[in-house]
């Protein structure tokens, strides 16, 4: 069924999103060269999380979807994070 309320992302919006993603990618690569030690990983993961959020929000249209779907996506990532944390209650304290 044609969904008349479907939001249409403009071509320019898509291009802008790509540019943001490319900039973030560049930052994470440059961060490696900056020899920040163990912080490099954390930074890389934070940047990756931002990129994932951008892709989810714009390319995958979550910004324009209903709240329920956004809650589901958030819940899924949260659940996964909790499972990893609990796994580390074993490994970290062994």
């Amino acid at each position: 069924m044609k969904n008349h309320e479907d939001h249409i992302s403009s071509y320019t919006l898509n291009l802008k999103v790509l540019l943001i993603l490319l900039i973030l990618t560049t930052i994470s690569i440059l961060a490696v060269k900056m020899h920040l030690g163990t912080f490099t990983v954390t930074l890389a993961l934070i940047i990756a999380s931002v990129k994932v959020t951008v892709v989810l929000t714009y390319f995958m249209h979550l910004k324009f979807e209903n709240l329920l779907l956004r809650l589901m996506v958030g819940g899924v990532f949260l659940l996964f994070a909790i499972v990893i944390v609990i796994t580390f209650i074993d490994y970290y304290f062994r």
Binding site: L68, V76, I82, V83, I86, T87, I89, D90, Y92, F93
Partner: protein
Amino acid sequence: MNYSTPTAPLNYLNHKTGLWSWLSSTDHKRIGLLYLYSITVFFCAAAVLGLLMKIEKFAPGETIMTAQTYNGIFTIHGIIMIFIVVIPGLAAVFGNFFLPIMIGAKDVAFPKLNLFSWYVYITGACLGLYSQFAKGHVPDAGWTFYVPYSAEVNSNIVIALTAAFILGFASILTGLNFIVTMHRMRAPGMGWFRMPLFPWSLYATAWIQILATPIIGITLLMVIAERTLQIGFFNPALGGDPVLYQHLFWIYSHPAVYVMILPAMGVVSEIFPTFSQKPIFGYMPIVFSSLAIALVGYFVWGHHMFTSGMSYEARWFFSFLTFLVAIPSAIKVFNWLSTMYGGSVDLKPPLLYAISFIFLFTIGGFTGLTLGSLATNIQTHNTDFVVAHFHYIIFGGMGFGFFAGIHYWYPKIYGRMYSNRWANIAWVFVFTGFNVLYFPMFIIGLQGMPRRYFDYDPKFQTGQMISSIGAFILIIGLIGMISNLVYHRRRGAIAPANPWHGVTLEWQVPSPPPHENFDEVPVITHDPYVFDNPVIK
């Protein structure tokens, strides 16, 4: 009126005839029956395997089979029961048949995907069976496939792992279909909190199927990679950790037990109001406890691993969460019992099985606490105490829930009544046999009888013999129960639309239901358990 005459009303059974019309049907009711028949066949096969184990254990030493054979039998018994019977079981049979009807829909959201799921299921199930007949030794690593044994033993492990992977896929597709169905296909006026409790239980179950099953999928792939590529994740010689396998395995397999039990709880949540002729006590608590069980059930998996070498903090955490997850289940038990209180109780076979469910599930639940408690776990882990516990919960819980469901919905499915007397007599054998079979295992388990052992110290013989006798009584009961249902399929009294005076939507349509469930789209104006008037306006 005879349903096979030309003037019989059109329903989903006579809508189209012939084997191919069944194998190609996207009608959720027919798909539910396809699952029912396949699951029954596999259940019977696995039950016979269980009986063989019990015959072997009747006396110490080799009785009818070698130790190796015994290992192969308990492995395939577990694989069939867990992956082919109990995990799909209630959702695939009664969920498929009744979910759309109970929410006022014509079918599930994706009917073709539904049929496809059954074929995926059959493929996985047949592949699992093939592991028994393919060249090479039958798998003997238990349904739990613990490394390092499963990674190294020379038996048809890869076939079994692939079968489990495929079966997991079927489970995911069913869960996906049910979630979308409940979000998108409810009849006008049926808000979420006007949905009956069986659909709610399926909703909670479906989320677990979606979010937990993929983890076992990737874990099984890792074991296959271990066997074929020496990838090493679980192999200490290459830097891996075998306990990591256990973590990954149980991250799925613990939530999986809630996939097994939640629909059964949903079934009895339907039966108690109907056979007490009063609304369920505590509709909201039951809804939220189902969701709570699904959620908290994700965080307790380590209680299967207390003796595997986890950190103290992890053991403490998992034990604590395990005690927490028992609370919502207990809430439900109080609510079911309170539903009967003050009601007009009619002890027909569905209620008999539902009450047995409470009794057996409670025993299973309490013994789960013994296992979940760190100190006592050391004594009971890997003993027959565990085996008794999980059979009380899974068989006493999901199994009896399934029997309750089939006795409840049989008139609706087939338009016929079975014999109550026959059902009650069969129940006596089933219930007695069940307890004689499994209760002694608690005792010998506490006394030190290990699980999965084909031989034992003669001091356990009395308990083992009693248990084995119980198996025979149980099998007699099961044969009686199934034959009652099979016999009356075409010979039973014609069933009215509402033989039990239920108030949920399935009782407002004819028995058997028409092909598209409702002649007109129902409009819902009441909460689901109002007993002075039926739900359809």
